[in-house]
Amino acid sequence: MSSKLAGVLAALTLLVAACGSGTGNTPRGGSSAAPGSAATIEVGSLYEPQNLDNIAGGGQGVTEAFNGNVYEGLFRLTDAGKVENLLAESYKVADDGLTYTFKLRQGVRFHSGKALTAADVTNSIERVLAEDSQSARKSNLKVIKSVTAPDDATAVVELSSRSISLVYNLSYVWIVNAAAKDLTTAADGTGPYRLGAWKRGSTLSLAPFSGYWGPRPANGGVVFHYFTEATALNNALLTGAVDIVTSQQSPDALSQFTGNPDYKIGEGHSTTKLLLAFNDRRAPFDKPQVRRAVAAAIDDAKLLESVWAGHGSLIGSMVPPTDPWYEDLTSLDRHDVEQAKRDLAAAGYAQGFRFTLDTPNYDPHPTAATFIKGELAKVGITVDINVITADEWYTKVYKNRDFAATMQEHVNDRDVVWYGDPGFYWGYDDEQVTAWVAEAERAKTTEEQTALLKKANRRIAENAASDWIYLYPQIVVASSALSGYPVNGLNSQFYAYGIKKG
């Protein structure tokens, strides 16, 4: 009898120990932490970095955790979409627009203690442009001919042609310590936080950097908790394990938080667009008429309602409302089944056709593909849905361009310029658009740039270069004790230094 009791006790002890170690990995937020500037902010996210370097394929997770928090650029893209000086105190542009001279902020130190010099800036720009760099922004910076450092406080960038977006583009370039070794597992930036610990598959913590040049963060540190599944993430918010969720991916989870005084729901502007991207090189999608017919046959509003239940908005082209060259073009993409049938007949496909739709296996793509299949069946087009993983998408669609049409979400702002690149995966080849995009980049004023990109945006919409289904909403749910967090999350950035608890 007593031995049985001992056994039960031993089992219980083991169980308790197991529970203890379980919670040890996920420090509790909210209630237990002290209020005020010492409190740690627990952030819940679905985007764990692949590694810690944004030029080595770290993914959107590393941008979310590190941009502006651990690493700073010469410039900062604010949550409102403005570009302001950061590590550059001021800059001068030569009259020909080909030479930019940046004066660096003084008294800036890296987390390792080394002072920031112009050599770090030249090194940081060069590493983005390097052969093995996987930075998505590399092509935007190709106009850079040389970067030099005439003295420790000055960096000079020479361009091969005018680039009005240079300053904006530099907001993505992390200034890293030139002496730093492997940045995929460690970090050495100038930001208000230094990297604490990264427990793969679980958490990444940031601790305030005492030697920071600017104002101290409003909190005592940040811990990113990574989840692979939205329901688990929301449960963590409900139980107080996290204080804020960077972006909600399902409207149905919101009902748990609406009307609850413990939570605040914020809806900001997103730049994420859901695309049905055609392979514009290949029949039948090489004909604008066919693409327009497909776009007209799909009831975008109904799909948006299905997926987002009243959140999000329709867009008629690639440019989201937060870009300076936005224009409401929804009138160019009206749902009109009869028109679609007429267009198909005129293009020689009165009997319809059949194509394979490569569909990433994560939400909302399979749902959207199912819906599109149903819509296109009404005009005689048969869709075969081919579900693939994100990796397969990258190889098959993005690299090898081996596809007829694909579903994909495009998260970046100011990305309409990709339609000016015939080599991009969707292969939209339009001399006029290519010329306008190139001209816009060489423009002398932002007005000129805006006017040209508006023309390009309208032209791709008229030619239905892709079908822009809808613009995602950006929904942030946070504990009501929290304030000062970003609501727009442009380009997946998440500035944490302003967040206050209590």
């Binding site: 939205a230 329901t231 399902s250 149905d252 989870a253 009902s255 748990q256 109904k302 309602e305 299905s306 997926v307 239940a309 569909t359 296996n361 994560y362 939400d363 399979p366 749902t367 593909a369 199912t370 819906f371 299949k373 149903g374 069946a377 075969d384 849905i385 081919n386 579900v387």
Partner: protein, 270 residues
């Protein structure tokens, strides 16, 4: 007596799902692609079980999903049974070294989780119902083969086999007249159990997005799709779950009943 009851209850449950699948071939409440139902309509008049996010009728999806579940289950058992029994017979009759090699190979395949094996097959081929059947069938065949091998060995050790051998009966006739009649009841019980597991495996693969691609209805994918809306529209998650339970419990009861009915020693003890 109890065996007969269990068997009848199992048959009733499996028969129910089978009937639903058969009916779905000729009649469905709505077109499976019909999205006019409105987002997440609650159960009621027009839609008995409500609708999903896209406004498709849930009952329609469930009925069509019954087909997928049964095809996956029965198809896998056919593939697994055919391969497994053949492999098991070979191993059972084989010479020492071949038997050892086959057994080792079977142990390795069995050590692989069926789901992982299925994921490999689904990744190598494209995701389709055929891939699912092949994948689950392959995983199952190792288990069936090992059982068959043991059963064959047991029969071959009997005196009447030695008698048959010495009287000059050929091996094929021994298999057909002595081995198979003695091992089939046990095999049938095992295959019935495997049917339930195969249905579950198909649901799991579809849940992971490795099953037949949308819009082919599958209970596993219905569960996955309903996951985000489980609090607002619980029917979407409960209904496919209940059907899975009905079918799997049904096949297990059939297996139990078959064992009781087929095993003479059990029958005598009652």
């Amino acid at each position: 007596m109890r065996g007969r009851l269990t068997f009848a209850a199992g048959c009733a449950l499996v028969g129910l799902v089978l009937a639903v699948a058969l009916v779905s071939l000729v009649w469905l409440p709505y077109d499976p692609a019909d999205t006019t139902g409105g987002r997440l309509a609650p159960p009621g008049g027009a839609h008995l079980l409500g609708t999903d996010k896209l406004g498709r009728d849930l009952l329609t999806q469930l009925m069509a999903g019954a087909r997928t579940a049964l095809i996956a289950g029965i198809g896998s058992v056919l593939v697994g049974g055919l391969l497994g029994v053949t492999g098991g017979l070979l191993a059972g009759f084989a010479t020492r070294w071949l038997d050892d090699a086959l057994s080792a190979a079977l142990d390795i395949v069995i050590a692989f989780p069926t789901l992982l094996l299925a994921m490999l097959v689904a990744a190598a081929r494209e995701a389709s119902l055929g891939s699912v059947v092949l994948a689950i069938g392959l995983g199952m065949s190792a288990i069936v083969a090992r059982l068959t091998r043991v059963l064959v060995k047991r029969v071959l050790a009997q005196d009447y086999i030695t008698a048959a051998r010495t009287s000059g009966t050929s091996w094929p006739r021994i298999v057909a007249e002595h081995v198979l009649p003695n091992i089939w009841p046990m095999l049938l019980v095992n295959l019935a159990l495997q049917l339930g597991l195969a249905v579950l495996a198909e649901a799991a693969l579809s849940y992971l997005g490795l099953g037949p691609p949308p819009p082919n209805a599958s209970w596993g994918r219905l569960l996955q799709e309903a996951q985000a809306t489980v609090l607002t529209a619980p029917t979407g998650a409960i209904a496919p779950g209940v059907l899975l339970v009905v079918l799997v419990v049904g096949t297990n009861l059939v297996a139990d009943g078959l064992r009781d009915l087929a095993d003479p020693t059990r029958r005598r003890s009652r």
